[in-house]
Amino acid sequence: MFGLYIALAILLVLGILLLIFRVTRLVGIVKGTGEKVVTDSNNVNAAMMIVFMVLFFGIAGWYSYVNFDAYDPPVASEHGELTDKLFWRTMWITGIVFAITNILLFYFSWKYRYSAKRKATFYPHNNKLEFIWTGVPAIVLTWLVISGWMAWDGIMSEAPEESEQIEIMGYQFQWSIRYGGVDNQVGDYDYRLIDAVNAHGQDLSDRSNYDDFISNNLVIPKGDPVLLKIRARDVLHSVFIPHMRVKMDAVPGMPTQFWFVANKSTDEMRVEEGNPDFNYELACTEVCGGGHFSMKKRVVVLEPAAYAEWKIDQKSWLSKNPQYLSQVPENLKELALVTAGINE
């Protein structure tokens, strides 16, 4: 019944609108305004340009100022501070251009609205102007490109030798994280060895696999370089740690990587944000199926000492799954037992 009333109301409103339309049209025909191209509406539209401009810049400016902290996420990595600086520098430069060009657009529209007394100025070209406004943007853009390129070059450079090696693998719809262990070497894998338990497909003929361990959270040290070795098992995924300004696709069959230095521990960030429940998070940003929006991992940044302690406490994957010892070649069995921490 309620739905019927709504439908009736909508019909009524539409009917009234139609009627108004019809009446104004007929009035227009009687008055003869319909024949003219330039009517009083011209001035109304011109004025609306200014009204729109004021409202637009007013609201956008107000919102940008008041909500700055809400949309500007705090940054917690060294390279992130650099890219943020570039971002805001670009924002200032382009923001000014944006404001000037839009204001001119609306102002000219209003200022040069039609008047029967005036004739437009015949002004077909001016090469000097064209050169100026080709040259100036080109120079400014060159500057932006070069600063961007220098930052990019640094971020994408070879990871330092001593980086903590951590493998992060995406699959529908989770992340799995494997550490290099004591030797800080993430062991070889083969996708054909993957099964329900051996999620990473660790190849146990590679000795650097024995001490590798799986962690539920991405735990990283503060101030030390971390190298994420990124893979995907089924479809594309993308590692995204918003606060660290880290993003890199995970591609099946083609390992990728991203190294960075976190410079604020979780605890420090909790204080800074005034939020005792704050946690860094890792998300997926490449559409990967129905559960795409739920691929979350917690990221924990510890002080280096705490990190070392945490790392020592971790049990190797092999020691947790000793049935896989059968895959270890005979000559490495002993080594495996020791390195995995089974026989101590």
Partner: protein, 625 residues
């Protein structure tokens, strides 16, 4: 029949079309080879798809703005895509996003825009009786139609339409079991795209050959309206880029159905290790974006061309920097082919390649900026008449600036690390490509409606439609920048899983309300469009006092466009408000010898040339007979 017409054009422009022979309903309105009818077919089909595409966005905006709401009332429409608890199905959300993108980019802004206006305006503005090949032109529409039918059918599949995003990256799209939409829906998507590509190529080849071969006497390239330049270059881009998409799609078909490994390698999915090795998903991305980026300009250039024409006409001023506009468009055309990998900065691409593409990408901002400055200078000291078409053109310039500027962030690979695949990108391309092209499309419809249907659209409804749409578009997409800077990823069904993305529920609600209101605002346009088609005020022959050739045809041009000879062209199309001239416009068909009072010095020299040519024609004709 039409090729015959074309040939006659090229040789002597003989009077062939005075007797309108009777055509059957089918050959006149359905399988028509007349460019004007085909244009209208593209337009109506484009509008149909625009409604579907926009309605889809309204539905997924409901989910994003009001994740808790009970959508049970949509059950009659969506059936079991609404879950028991009244929520939108997660897979179907992705299907909606994917179909919205596919439909809007290809069916509305490529076919609806280029298909309509290239077809309608190229012969009319260059002075040709029809396209170079009317038959191919007809095929172009019907391939598009078939493509649309197949895509439409895919919406009703039990497993849903393709849902891996409009870019359909493999392996998600290649492995049929990776998600429901990757099954039959993806197959139909690929078949539909193959038909669509064929349609685009048939159209593009036709546009190019028509512009090159069938220009009327005196219509040199330096006298072409900017609309034609834009359509011409768009067609060139399409003809060079679409075949690559075809290749990408074909290899994807092979990977899906014939066990090849072009894009697949080392995959373990659903408890099974696939045998594919050696392929690369990145290869697909290269191939896709080799079309995908030029595609942005395929939808944008026609809109910019239309705007140039409308802004000049309604400012009553020549377009400022006609040559600079052409050079910019040429620059954009060329550069559009060498920037594609900026979509792939964080795809695992070699970082050095990333640097190269950053350089190339930011260069393309220069010609775009030049175009904006030229538009502004055209408005300066004009005498501006705000027709609905003019309003949408000014709106286009505004959203083009706003959306273009954010491209400078995204083209910078270092900044792109954070912004890639967030709502910042969504805001960027919806403004610069979506809204700008849609505004161009609407502006074009308002401007050339009198030529298409012989009647005027209602101006007041046009004003209301514009202001609703303009305010609506900014209300939808401007706030997305904030959400994007905050890091919200796109294609997320819901943000509640993450603390980092748990804010901005109010802003998301606002965006959704604005989007739905803007969607309903478009019905004003629809009403105006269909009502005016039958009941609109009768148009005069040149309602906007424009210079271009289409306004020299009869109010309802018949088959062959001009009765009698095709007019000759003597000047460029932008002689508005020329000092000394009596009227504030001088059509292209007026020779310099008749405008002594307003000629510039070098134009007086043209008079002698005009005379010579006139004599030549007489000689030729007497020789011919």
């Amino acid at each position: 029949m039409a090729t015959e017409v074309a040939q006659i054009d090229v040789q002597v422009q003989e009077d062939h079309h005075d007797h309108d022979h009777e055509q059957s309903y089918i050959s006149k309105y359905i399988f028509s080879t007349d460019h004007k009818t085909i244009a209208k077919q593209f337009l109506i089909t484009g509008i149909f798809w625009a409604i579907i595409g926009a309605a889809m966005s309204a539905i997924f905006r409901l989910q994003l703005g009001f994740p808790e709401a009970d959508l049970g009332w949509l059950k009659p429409l969506l059936g079991r895509w609404i879950t028991e608890t009244g929520q939108l199905d997660q897979e179907f959300y992705l299907a909606l996003v994917t179909m919205h993108g596919t439909i809007m980019v290809f069916f509305v802004l490529t076919a609806g825009l280029s298909g309509t206006f290239s077809n309608f305006l190229i012969p009319l503005q260059i002075g040709a009786r029809d396209m170079a090949s009317g038959f191919m032109n007809m095929l172009s529409y019907w391939f598009f139609f078939v493509s649309g039918v197949i895509m439409f059918i895919s919406l009703f599949l039990e497993t849903g339409p393709a849902s891996g995003g409009w870019v359909v990256y493999p392996p998600l799209s290649a492995i049929q079991t990776a998600m429901p939409g990757s099954g039959m829906g993806m197959t139909l998507w690929l078949i539909a795209m193959v038909f669509f590509i064929a349609s685009s190529l048939l159209g593009g080849i036709n546009y190019i050959s028509t512009v090159v071969n069938l220009r009327t006497k005196g219509m040199t390239f330096s006298r072409l309206p900017l609309t034609i330049w834009a359509f011409f270059l768009t067609a060139v881009i399409g003809v060079l880029a679409f075949p690559v998409l075809f290749a990408a799609a074909l290899l994807l078909v092979f990977d899906r159905s014939f066990g090849t490994s072009f894009y697949l390698s080392e995959i373990y999915i659903q408890g099974e290790a696939l045998s594919n090795v050696g392929g690369s998903p990145i290869l697909y991305q290269h191939l896709f974006w080799f079309l995908g980026h030029p595609e942005v300009y395929i939808v944008l250039l026609p809109a910019l061309g239309i705007t140039s024409e409308i802004i000049a006409t309604n400012s009553r001023k020549p377009i400022f920097g006609y040559k600079a506009m052409i050079v910019s468009m040429l620059g954009i055309t060329f550069l559009s082919f060498i920037v594609w990998a900026h979509h792939m900065f964080v795809s695992g691409l070699n970082p050095f390649l990333g640097s190269i593409f950053m350089f190339l990408t930011l260069i393309i901002a220069v010609p775009s900026a030049v175009k904006v400055f030229n538009y502004l200078t055209t408005l300066w000291k004009g005498n501006i008449i705000f027709t609905p078409a003019m309003l949408f053109s000014i709106g286009l310039v505004s959203v083009f600036i706003s959306g273009g500027i954010t491209g400078i962030f995204l083209g910078n690979s270092a900044i792109d690390i954070q912004l890639h695949d967030t709502y910042f990108v969504v805001a960027h391309f919806h403004l610069v490509m979506g809204a700008a092209s849609a505004f161009g499309l609407l502006a074009g419809v308002y401007h050339w409606f009198p030529k298409m249907f012989g009647r005027m659209m209602d101006a007041k409804l046009g004003y209301i439609h514009f202001w609703l749409t303009f305010i609506g578009i900014y209300s939808v997409f401007f706030p997305m920048h904030y959400i994007g800077i905050a890091g919200f990823p796109r294609r997320y069904y819901s943000f509640t899983n993450f603390d980092a993305f748990s804010g901005f529920t109010d802003l998301n609600q606002f965006i959704s309300i604005a989007a739905i209101a803007t969607f309903f605002g478009q019905f004003i346009f629809l009403f105006n469009f269909f009502y005016s088609m039958y009941r609109g005020r009768k148009a005069t022959s040149n309602p906007w006092k424009s210079n271009t050739l289409e306004w020299t045809t009869p109010i309802n041009p018949g088959h062959g466009n001009w009765e009698g000879e095709i007019p000759e062209v003597y000047r460029w199309p932008y002689d508005y408000s020329k000092p000394g001239a009596e009227d504030d416009f001088i059509p292209q068909t007026v020779p310099f010898s008749e405008t002594m009072e307003s000629n510039l010095p070098h134009e007086n020299d043209m008079i002698a040339l005009e005379k010579e040519q006139a004599e030549e024609i007489i000689v030729n004709e007497s020789a011919g007979h």
